[in-house]
Symmetry: C2
Subunit: 362 residues, 2 copies
């Protein structure tokens, strides 16, 4: 079943998004046509300065979480809303990279945008923990320097990814959690909000549903509950520098203080100019135990696998064996992009200086 989806997905990619100009035709369904036209327009706009020479090569991939609703359960409007926001997010990163900006700036800007979008499980719109509160995690890593920053268990920082960047740039530490992270963010002048700022009606409803009937924990139930939302971006800039950023509210009903894989360097977030940049989304505990993001890098470095082989190994083979669900996005030093997942869906998109571009849910 799961494997089927993966193959379907591969097949899907074969046909879809070969060029930005034929997308609307390929994504069949007349009700989607109008919205696809809009998406296409954004693409044309952001691809105004394609740069496909080896030196000026860039690439970016983004995700808005794996494990969303099963195909057919999301309304056309809902799907359209997600695709639009994914396109907007992608275009922010593309503009940065096209204009010669750094991969660090691109991934931070994209993730910040997605944090500010209530559709995604990060920043405002984050899912709620067992106590009905939003507890946020985020991390960023610079493949050029190997430096990284992360925050976890924060409840008052409007944009956790910014705080993660400040931890990296302004402290001798990599990770700050809880009150300490919040105090630091405040001292750096970052936007502080009331904990209630993050809570949307939709997430409150999900939480109430969870509260009245906590899931038994089967894979299907977890997916149905959309537990796996997380946002992330990875990028290669024209200088050949890789970067990764991830931000999340975790999983609905998580225990107070629970930290998932997103802010754990090597688990949910990793970047290394010699190999690749990775941002993961999924059942975080398995991603931590499998050190997924660094494992991908290690397979490139130590086994000379291609990015695609490595992604298949980590997400399809290793995680599947454990019954774990999720996906990841990764870009390597050559600008190759992979976006494997073993769930029903993963909100995702990528763009390259070659003009290739894709935004998809299933």
């Amino acid at each position: 079943m799961k494997t089927l989806h993966v193959y379907q997905n591969t097949l899907f990619r074969k046909y879809v998004f070969i060029s930005g100009l034929i997308i609307a035709c390929i994504l069949a369904g007349t009700s989607l046509m109008a919205q696809e036209k809009e998406i296409q327009d954004i693409r044309v706009q952001t691809m105004a300065v394609p740069n496909d020479n080896a030196d000026g090569r860039w690439a970016i991939a983004i995700h808005g979480g794996a494990g969303g609703p099963a195909r057919g359960t999301m309304s056309a409007n809902q799907e359209k809303a997600y695709l639009e926001k994914l396109n907007e997010a992608l275009s922010i990163g593309m503009k940065e990279l096209e204009s010669g900006g750094s991969s660090m700036a691109a991934v931070e800007a994209v993730v910040k945008f997605m944090e500010d979008c209530p559709l995604f499980n990060a920043g405002i719109g984050a899912v709620l923990n067992e106590n009905g509160k939003a507890e946020l995690d985020a991390a960023i890593m610079d493949g050029r320097t190997g430096k990284a920053g992360a925050v976890a268990g924060v409840m008052t920082i409007k944009n956790p990814i910014e705080a993660a960047r400040f931890v990296m740039d302004k402290t001798n530490h990599v990770m700050l959690v809880g009150k300490g992270a919040e105090n630091f963010a405040k001292s750096m002048g970052l936007k502080i909000v009331e904990p209630s700022y993050f809570i949307t009606q939709e997430r409150l409803d999900s939480w109430k549903k969870w509260k009245s009937n906590p899931p038994s924990g089967t894979k299907e139930e977890q997916e149905a509950q959309g537990k796996h939302g997380t946002v992330g971006a990875v990028a290669l800039d024209v200088k050949g520098n890789l970067a990764a950023a991830t931000s999340t509210g975790g999983m609905t009903g998580k225990m107070e203080g629970r930290v998932g894989d997103s802010p754990i360097i090597g688990a949910g977030t990793y970047a290394n100019n010699n190999t690749c940049a990775v941002s993961a989304t999924g059942h975080g505990e398995y991603f931590i135990r499998n050190v997924v993001a660094y494992d991908l890098s290690a397979l490139l470095e130590y086994r000379q696998m291609t990015l695609e082989e490595a992604a298949k190994t980590t997400i399809i083979e290793k995680l599947e064996k454990l019954g774990a669900t999720g996906g990841l996005i990764a870009v390597d030093r050559e600008g190759n992009v992979v976006m494997p997942f073993n769930t029903n869906a993963m909100f995702r998109g990528f763009a390259k200086s070659t003009g290739e571009l894709e935004v998809a849910v299933y």
Copy 2:
């Protein structure tokens, strides 16, 4: 002050602990004889049932932190105290393994013992953060199942390693931080203490010294301040199962909420029956960025390196290049043990079913 009364006996390491049988003779000085006799007795006792056949093979290694005082600055009494406690800790693990106990039970018991010993930077005797408080991190990982548990930023749990074990056994999560972790530990009936319980006079003095004159951060200064204390244990049991456990107070003057590598699976703690079990100690930020513990495992798995080659690669080559200090202990599935470090000292010890045994500081 601390640095002054440490370091007299430069000859110590040369002579000591070549074998359990000749220790009393080698450790000259009549005042030391009685105690050393006791240490020897522990060894003889715990080595009563050596098992060096392949099936019944076991091994354990422990550390009490890297980056201690430079050789010659520790008093004979101080050094003696450390060696005694290392021996006691080791004997606890050895007894567990000799009697057929699991590597998980062994590493947890050893780390718990070291947490309860004020000499080491974990549990009582932990170093203090910027606010003069002890904030503790710990993790444990089971190489047989790949399951893991961790707590970070906790201030009231007497034995963080027990809480980490409970996170692994009793929740669906891997990591809990701050209040959430403390509430969970309390709900599990673990011993809760006042934050002041952890603070010893010696650590308070160190903190005051730090407060009045924060170090500029050079490698030498960091080492002199003994920033790198951490305790850990790794073991292979007679059933071939590997386990790792680590616990720490972090570094003196660390920012509130700072989480180091110890509780990060893949950074400071990792175990996998197919490769090895690792517990690290050192400048945690570099260990996180380099995903050191999992890197060691990956070098075994993907590069077919020996444990020694892999340890050299991670600790000596990769970390040295970054100017990072620290060390690690590791045991592989064959029962090989390595204890590399690039600091002045690392409190450490190991024992095997073959009868090999060593406890050392320099």
